[in-house]
Amino acid sequence: MNRFNGLKAMCVAVFVMWLGHPLAWANIDAYTFESVDQERTFHELNKTLRCPKCQNNSIGDSNAELAKDLRQKVYEMLQEGQSEDEIVDYMVARYGNFVTYEPPLTPATLILWLAPALAILIGVASVLYRSRGSRLAAAEIAEEEKQRLERLLKDTDEDSAP
């Protein structure tokens, strides 16, 4: 009987631990929204804003105190009727472009857009260059071969001469 109770307690404990597992349980803050749209925007922003403290977590994923504050701030601003862009601008004005997962196109971030195109260009250029080079090389070899062939032919002509 006792053992059975122990087993039951253990099952309950395991179940509770499983429930409390961070993956099974994103942050649950009790926020109430005026509309479904507002709630959707809130979750959207939680996903696209990045936590400056737990870097590489979004503010929705992070349990840092700061992330809680930022979520609270996002919520308040939504309640005030501010748009998504206004909220992102507000955060960028304080924490820099680091806080958004969608960096704007600035001279400093230009390389992010240009690098793939550059890589392809360099690749294509080098393939073209090398194929031309090898054709030239082949032509050169052919030239040498021709001369040797002629020499050989001459030799054989002379050898076969009586």
Partner: protein, 185 residues
């Protein structure tokens, strides 16, 4: 030179090696923290705020306390072990005449007052930022952080982490001296 392209991998390797070497040397001279973020407030004035004095509830201050002379703004909390390590050095700085304003960030007021009574108080003014909203406006993402603010209330530099003798002499003091000279002229 024939077959120059054969040297491309070697040249690439040398360039990479050079970049790594430069970074290594820089890390030795100035151990930087990869999670450190640039402050976007450099060159801007201190954000507007109205905050209570840490000790005297009801007594409030506004951003005009940062006008008139160069100041340090030190963000601290009792839950922050590095702040404890830094505190004695702040006391030394204050004793040598550096003017520091403290921002008690997301902390228990009672504990914070006890901390200052116990460890000494290097701050001219102690602001209480219980909900961390001035911290948010300053782009604070941890404690301790120290801002260097000139006589016009413009943020000149942000230092993340503790202030100690080494980084004060190498990095912060020159900026502070410059601000003092600018204030005279």
């Amino acid at each position: 030179m024939k077959k120059a392209y054969l040297y491309i991998p070697l040249v690439g390797f040398l360039v990479l090696a050079l970049i790594f070497a430069v970074q290594l040397v820089m890390n030795v001279e100035n151990p930087n923290n990869p999670t450190e973020l640039e402050s976007v407030l450099i060159g801007k004035t201190v954000p507007n705020f109205t905050l209570e004095d840490l000790v005297h509830e009801g007594k409030t201050y506004e951003q005009d306390i940062f006008r008139g002379e160069p100041l340090l703004l030190n963000v601290w909390a009792t839950w922050c072990p590095t702040c404890y390590a830094e505190h004695q050095y702040l006391n030394q700085l204050a004793a040598s005449g550096v003017k520091i304003i403290g921002l008690n960030y997301k902390d228990d007021r009672h504990k914070a007052v006890g901390w200052l009574e116990e460890l000494g108080n290097p701050y001219l003014i102690s602001l209480f930022d219980g909900d961390g909203m001035l911290g948010l406006d300053l782009g604070v993402y941890g404690a301790p952080e120290t801002f260097l603010i000139d006589a016009d209330g413009i943020i000149r530099h942000r230092h993340v982490g503790d202030v100690n003798e080494r980084n004060w002499q190498s990095r912060l003091q020159p900026i502070y001296q410059q601000m003092l000279e600018d204030a005279k002229s």
